[in-house]
């Protein structure tokens, strides 16, 4: 082994950490902007999201004949689209992050339980997975919301169960193969408790797959939330979300498209940014790909 070979790996990580591709940088920037908007919604929004300005109803955005008082225009009740967009971003991000994290945590736990106990527990989990995959989620959501009424937290938890079976399948399959592959068996053989094996070894090893799965599920949750809000089952007026705005803006699609287009573009850009960053993150989290 020459000195050259020793020097190279020491220098490489520092360089790799600094290097962020431009596409990822834009995506990261957009996500950070969205997060900042969500956290600072009360401070940066020019108006309350329910405040009416009846003299400026259906005012177009700047550049299309609008006024500076409402940069993105107003809706049919004269509510400022920018202010509503800011509050919608906060609501949708809260729902999407909350639901994705709940789904990933629940699904991964169930998958690990199935992989660890095998036998009856595994059969039960797999039956639940099949049940969940076979049942149209919209029907489940309708039933739950009809029976339990609509509260924000219930809605988030409900959406969390939207894709849990995917994480459960992935986690179970990867945990079983990790046990057979050797490293998990080797650590168990060292005397480690199951919690240590799963939390310190299997979870980091399968995290890349789970993260990819989360970045795929995140846009789905946003779209699902939009769909349910559109049907009137999701976020209830006067509260607002991106899907809620798209749903109610539909009626004015021809006369005032900005009401619908502003949240629609936000959904597209956010989901795209999360997909790009998630893909990049997967590579970064894997030391063997450095």
């Amino acid at each position: 082994m020459s000195d050259l070979a020793i020097a190279a790996p020491v220098a490489a990580p520092a360089k790799a950490r600094l290097h962020i591709p431009p596409g990822v940088a834009i995506g990261l920037g957009w996500i950070l902007l969205m997060l900042a908007v969500a956290f600072l919604a009360d401070i940066i929004s020019p108006y309350g999201y329910t405040a009416l300005d009846l003299r400026n109803r259906l005012s177009p955005p700047i550049g299309f004949g609008g006024v500076w008082a409402h940069p993105l225009g107003t809706d049919e009740l004269g509510r400022d689209v920018l202010s509503r967009l800011i509050h919608s971003i906060r609501m949708s991000l809260l729902i999407a992050f909350g639901a994705t994290i709940i789904g990933a945590a629940f699904g991964t736990t169930m998958g690990f339980l199935a992989a660890h106990f095998r036998g009856l527990v595994e059969q039960a989990v797999l039956a639940l997975v099949d049940f969940s995959a076979a049942l149209p989620f919209l029907i489940l959501a309708l039933a739950v919301l009809a029976f339990f009424g609509n509260s924000l937290w219930l809605f988030i938890v409900l959406l969390g169960f939207h894709a849990w079976e995917r994480y459960a399948r992935i986690a179970r399959g990867l945990a079983i193969s990790a046990g057979a592959q050797g490293y998990a068996a080797a650590v168990r053989q060292l005397g480690a408790r199951p919690l240590r094996v799963y939390a310190r070894h299997i979870l980091p090893n399968i995290a890349s797959t789970l993260i990819i799965s989360m970045t795929l599920a995140f846009p789905e949750v946003i779209l699902l939330e939009s769909g349910l809000s559109f049907l009137g089952l999701g976020v209830q007026p006067p509260a607002t979300s991106l899907g809620n705005m798209v749903g109610y803006g539909r009626e004015y699609l021809t006369r005032a498209p900005w009401i619908l287009l502003a949240p629609a573009f936000t959904i597209i850009l956010t989901t795209l940014a999360i997909s790009i960053v998630g893909d990049w993150l997967r590579d970064k989290l894997d030391p063997t790909l450095r």
């Binding site: 020793i6 790996p9 592959q181 050797g182 490293y183 080797a186 650590v187 053989q189 060292l190 005397g191 480690a192 408790r193 240590r196 070894h201 980091p204 090893n205 894997d286 030391p287 063997t288």
Partner: protein
């Protein structure tokens, strides 16, 4: 306590169920059919046999990783607790394993130092500073440089990875090390290095070693006693020299004659018949369908592993010198 052997395994049996086809009946495969082993402190026992003869399963049962269907394992005079219990976990610090595939046995997302320190963390040995010092000592012990501590497994060569696995296995100063084909996945040039390292480490740490391999020469290099396995049973056990130069069991003789020797040709014993199938064990002596000297008794009565006056154990009806000479 001093007088009891470190490890005593009695009549270990392990069966696996295997289903043939979609609707077929479940067939029992007897991987290990009554193996008894004794290993003294600080000594080395080699276990040889062809693949599928149950030597790895025996190693796993000896370590308590699998529960035998019959028979018992005693370690330091105590019965092996069932896998997964607290007593079993605590026992892991006293017995360790070196794996055939070092890359598979290492977590590729953890650097080498963290993996070597892991058994110390698990068993709560020392504080952070003591662990770091121990890891450095272990790395030097197995011939790795301290700057390799922060490498990941995929950045090391095969031999270096196996050194890491050995360092991790030795971290808790185990009394027993089971090496399951530790050199089969390595280059020939690296094999000798790892074997020498194993001998050095044993001299320094004084652990007992159960060395499992299909390579009789490798086993001879490290072992004080060698047990030859065939189809789940031990057919002959003795010192390596006795086995190599004066094998009593016909299977051992065939195995010894298969070792390549420069300048010697022609007199290899080539076994007839199919390789052994654990799903269809022959009656009587498991080796009799392929045995060149089998007699009628071999197909009906299984020979037991008998002690011979020179200290070896042989399971063959013909294993008296006169009988072998007559048959040959």
């Amino acid at each position: 306590m001093r007088n009891t052997p470190l490890l005593q395994a009695r009549d270990l049996v392990r069966r696996y169920g295997m289903r043939r086809g979609l609707l077929g009946r479940s067939v029992d495969i007897t991987a290990v059919a009554g193996v008894s082993l004794t290993l003294e402190r600080g000594r080395t026992l080699g276990l040889v046999g062809e693949s599928g003869c149950g030597k790895s399963t025996t190693g796993r049962m000896v370590l308590g990783l699998e529960t035998p269907d019959a028979g018992s394992v005693e370690f330091e005079g105590r019965i092996m607790p069932p896998p997964g219990t607290a007593a079993w976990r605590a026992m892991r610090a006293r017995m360790q394993m070196v794996f055939q595939d070092p890359l598979g046995a290492l977590d590729r997302r953890m650097n080498v130092a963290a993996q070597i320190a892991e058994p110390l963390e698990i068993h709560g040995i020392g504080d952070a500073a003591a662990r770091a010092a121990r890891v450095e000592a272990l790395l030097r012990n197995v011939g790795l440089r301290p700057d390799q501590a922060l490498r990941y497994p995929h950045e090391l060569s095969g031999g270096q990875r196996q050194r890491v696995v050995m360092a991790r296995a030795l971290a808790t100063e185990p009394a027993l090390l089971v090496c399951d084909e530790p050199i089969s996945a390595l280059d020939v040039s690296i094999q000798a290095q790892v074997m020498n390292l194993l001998v050095e480490l044993q001299a320094e740490h004084g652990m007992a070693v159960l060395f499992i391999s299909h390579d009789l020469r490798a086993v001879r290099q490290v072992s004080e006693r060698v047990a030859v396995m065939y189809l789940g049973t031990i057919v002959e056990e003795g010192t390596p020299d006795a086995l190599l130069h004066d094998a009593q069991h016909p299977y051992t003789r065939a195995l010894v004659s298969a070792i390549p020797h420069p300048g010697r040709g022609g007199n290899r014993i080539v076994l007839q018949g199919d390789p052994p199938n654990p799903a269809a064990r022959p009656s009587g002596c498991p080796f009799h369908p392929r045995c060149p000297v089998a007699v009628a008794r071999c197909s009906t009565e299984a020979p037991s592993l008998r002690d011979h006056p020179d200290g070896r154990r042989v399971a063959c009806h013909l294993a008296e010198p006169a009988a072998i000479a007559k048959a040959a």
